[in-house]
């Protein structure tokens, strides 16, 4: 079991309130991802759940029991740090077995659990090495191994992949996803990378300045963002926002249209613009369009190769049923 409930939790550092009262429930077995811009309080929230940071007020319940003042190790949670935080003086074997040794488990049982974890993470060859002799990805796997052996009620990850290069990151992302499928244990994962959030989560929690902007499934957030912030944060490239008369036509203060929901034509369309940079990714092309008269820059995504040059005139037509409408407060209409 691993149901985690935050009840009007707040956190202040001195006079600065980093987290205003916040309520959140993470169900057993869920893969919850906290996303938000840098400094919005994701790590702080995770560390409060872990018990590494005291709450200023409010309560945390784990599986129905109040855990607010329970020390970190007794909460049954395991954490994977961005910096891996391996014990440099211990071999991989000792690192993974450390929490078990601290729990005074019998040596035979420790050995067995370490081997099982090492096998599932492809670390068998490295068991007798020290962390310094491992690559970044291997170190991260050791850190995950150290979390797995404890059989925790929930895993906490704080940007575990941000020190890895792009290719490795995709690989590890899949491994963690695989791990979740296999263990079906609650996972809370902090990232500022919305692609990681979209691909891994069952439930995304979008934070801004310590406030939850929206909680929902990835597709929920993509199709029905509740406000402009979420709309702009989720999706890559970013949603285009249009204000003024063009938005009023749709009865809104602001409308948003995603790059993939805009038709492109060289001869006719609703908005006329000039092609700026075109980014060819092979599968898709992102065209940045200037001088449309509706917004400074409109990005569109076209799936096939389209022969455009810098400076060409181009016509854009938003798909009407894909337009997101927001009021003056930025809330969804």
């Amino acid at each position: 079991m691993g149901r985690i409930q935050l009840k009007s939790v707040t956190k202040s550092f001195g006079d600065v309130q980093v987290i205003p009262p916040l309520d959140l429930t993470i169900e057993d077995g869920e893969f919850a991802v906290f996303v938000g811009p840098s400094g919005c309080g994701k790590s702080t929230l995770l560390r409060m759940i872990a018990g590494l940071e005291d709450l200023t007020s409010g309560e945390i319940e784990i599986d129905g029991t109040i855990a607010t003042h329970v020390p970190p190790a007794q909460r049954g949670l395991a954490m994977v740090f961005q910096s891996y935080a391996l014990y440099p003086h211990m071999t991989v074997r000792k690192n993974i077995g450390f929490p078990l040794r601290m729990a005074k488990m019998a040596q035979a049982e420790i050995n067995q659990r370490v081997e099982t974890a090492a096998k599932s993470l492809n670390l068998m060859e490295y068991l007798d090495r020290k962390p310094a002799d491992l690559s970044g990805g291997q170190r991260q796997r050791v850190a995950i191994g150290r979390a797995i052996v404890r059989e925790p009620t929930a895993f906490l990850f704080d940007e575990p992949l941000s020190n890895l290069d792009a290719a490795l990151r995709v690989g590890m992302r899949l491994e963690i996803g695989e791990l979740h499928e296999r263990l079906q244990t609650t996972m809370i994962y902090v990232t500022h990378d919305q692609v990681e959030a979209m691909t891994m989560a069952n439930k995304i929690v979008v934070l801004r300045a310590g406030v939850i902007e929206q909680v929902g499934s990835p597709l929920d957030l993509y199709h029905r963002p509740q406000n402009e912030f979420v709309a702009g944060f989720i999706g890559s490239p970013k949603m285009n926002f249009v204000t003024g008369p063009e938005a009023e036509k749709h009865g809104a203060a602001t409308i948003g249209i995603r790059p993939e929901h805009t038709e492109v034509s060289m001869s006719e369309g609703e908005w006329k613009g000039r092609v700026g940079v075109a980014e060819h990714l092979g599968s898709d092309t992102f065209i940045h369009v200037h001088d449309t008269g509706v917004a400074d820059l409109v990005t569109v995504r076209v799936s096939c190769d389209i022969a455009v040059k810098h400076g060409d005139t181009i016509y854009l037509t938003p798909q009407v049923d894909q337009i997101h409408k927001f009021d003056t407060q930025g809330l969804r209409l």
Partner: protein, 167 residues
């Protein structure tokens, strides 16, 4: 920094009171006194050095330890000491060198019973001049252990044990 401030007081200034006190308490020229005095004069530098080494241990590792369930003693034994080991060793070595070479107090607070090498070297000085032969012999003997120890501890001194723990 205030820890280091006692180091700034000229030792000569407290020489007379020290000699007087130790003579009147009967501690003069005892091993106990030498141990006490040498410990005290090195304490500030030891505290300061160790503080710097312990401070360099990444916070994440200590927190990982907390998540893994170490208690206070376990934290010291399993994490802090091994990680600061290079620092502890170099502090110990430095301290040893300082004590070995310390001349001011040992020369003045001992006569024969608790005499150190410094005293022996000092003893080769007579009003008629220096006994160069004996002086060089004793000095060489005095330098020997330090050089050998330093040589053996080199690895320990240079090795940065925290490497590879955090990116």
């Amino acid at each position: 920094m205030w820890m280091l401030s006692t180091k700034m007081l000229p030792a000569a200034a407290v020489l007379y009171p020290m000699t007087f006190i130790t003579k009147s308490t009967g501690l003069f020229d005892t091993h106990f006194l030498i141990i006490l005095v040498l410990s005290l004069i090195n304490l500030p530098i030891v505290v300061w050095m160790l503080f710097t080494y312990f401070k360099e241990i990444p916070k994440d590792i200590i927190e990982a330890g907390q998540m893994d369930g170490v208690n206070t003693w376990g934290e010291i034994k399993e994490i802090l000491i091994p990680l600061a080991w290079g620092g502890i060793a170099s502090t110990a070595l430095l301290c040893f060198i300082f004590c070995w070479n310390e001349a001011h107090w040992t020369v003045r607070l001992t006569t024969t019973d608790a005499a150190t090498l410094s005293k022996l070297i000092e003893g080769n000085r007579a009003p008629e001049g220096l006994f160069f032969g004996r002086l060089s012999a004793v000095s060489a003997a005095a330098v020997g252990p330090i050089v050998i120890l330093g040589w053996f501890c080199q690895k320990q001194l240079v090795q940065g044990l925290t490497f590879g723990a955090v990116k």
